[in-house]
Symmetry: C2
Subunit: 100 residues, 2 copies
C-alpha cells in the first residue's frame, strides 16, 4: 500500500524585523529535500512578523528523515535565534499534492 | 511592475460527516482557474471536520476574478450547506509560488 501524503501547516512568528532574514534561511534549507512535494512560504499580510509554511510530503517518514539532513539541521540552528515563537501548527493529510 | 503574488490560508469546518463531500466539491471547483498557481487541500489530522486550503495566485486580481467563474460559483453554491464555519482565514504574500 502506498503511504498517505503527509502535510503540515504552521505559522512562525519572527523576532521583530527578522522576517526577511528568516524566510531566506527557510527557503535555502528547504531546497531539494527528498520526498518533499511542496514547501510554500508566505508572509502574513496582517502580521509584519508572521510567516506561514505549507508543507506536503510523500509520507510522514520523508518529513522525519528531512530533519536529519545537514542543510536542514544547519538552517534550524541558524534560524532559531530569529524565531520569536510558533503560533499555529497543524498536521494534515494533503488531498492533492501538486501545485498546477 | 509585476504584481505581487497573492495567497490565502484558511481552515474550513465541514458539517459533521460532510468533509469528504466538501473536499470533492472544492477540488472540482478549483480545477483550471486562471492565475492560480497552487490550490492545496488538506484534511486536518486533529479535527475530523477540518479542511485546510492553501492558495497561491499570480495576483490579488486573479483571485477576485475567479469568484466570477461559473464553475467556482457553482461549487460555492453547492458547498455552502456542507460548511459549518470558517476558523482561520489569512491573506498572504507568497514568497515562493511553485511546488517542486
Amino acid at each position: 500500500m502506498e503511504d498517505a501524503l503527509y502535510g503540515m501547516i504552521g505559522k512562525i512568528k519572527a523576532q521583530p524585523g527578522k522576517r526577511a532574514e528568516l524566510i531566506a534561511l527557510l527557503s535555502g534549507g528547504a531546497a531539494d529535500m527528498p520526498g518533499c512535494i511542496a514547501y510554500l512560504i508566505a508572509e502574513d499580510l496582517g502580521d509584519a512578523d508572521g510567516i506561514w509554511i505549507t508543507e506536503v510530503w510523500k509520507s510522514k517518514q520523508f518529513h522525519a528523515d528531512s530533519l536529519k539532513l545537514p542543510a536542514v539541521r544547519d538552517a534550524i540552528a541558524r534560524g532559531r535565534p530569529l524565531i520569536a515563537g510558533f503560533e499555529t501548527h497543524v498536521e494534515t493529510r494533503p488531498v492533492n499534492g501538486a501545485a498546477r
